[in-house]
Symmetry: C2
Subunit: 117 residues, 2 copies
């Protein structure tokens, strides 16, 4: 087996920086492909290809507008990532680091005998 397809889920789709950039741009509002091409400084085919991936994991929605195609963000598929991260969030919070120190101190104390009196 090889690496999971980028279209497997949001985790994989979003691992690519360009696709994150695209989402960031779309977060500001609907945009046609050529806008993205210009803003990203990428070749048009590459942008279309990235958009295809994002479409397949439902991170963007498209709407036809004449010859243009308006892409719009759909953030919902990002939720599972956020949910998964939730349990780690405390790990980088200041309060947690503080608790870590306290635990260290407790260990020290125990090692000193346990009966401190």
């Amino acid at each position: 087996m090889a690496r999971a397809a980028t279209t497997t889920d949001a985790f994989n789709a979003v691992a690519e920086p360009r696709r994150r950039q695209i989402l960031d741009l779309l977060a500001q509002g609907e945009r046609p492909v050529n806008d993205l091409v210009e803003l990203l400084g990428l070749a048009q085919p590459q942008v279309s290809k990235h958009l295809r991936v994002l479409r397949e994991v439902d991170l963007v929605h498209v709407r036809d507008e004449g010859r243009q195609r308006m892409y719009r963000l759909n953030a919902e598929p990002l939720k599972p990532i956020h949910d998964w991260l939730a349990k780690y969030e405390q790990a980088w919070s200041e309060r947690f680091e503080l608790m870590d120190e306290v635990l260290e101190e407790l260990k020290e104390t125990e090692r000193d005998d346990g009966s401190n009196d």
Copy 2:
């Protein structure tokens, strides 16, 4: 150019479900490799390989304990993912959906003429 290496950053490392599982297990505390092997039901070499990737992006730390190797979670590299997601969080919150509805209603009102009285 090919797809970015899994060891490029946490985004890529964590796109693989097994590696997320490993982090989930380590979130409960330090563990030797064989523990993970058993809990994951994977072959030992695969686990070691996944751990290597996680090590390279600094998502785990190792400590030698006799012949065992104790792996410990280091969640900090996950922070960039969380930070990136922050701007999308509102997109799936109830309050935002509510605001969406209100905006829709406003549009309706405007379309009706603007002066409703």
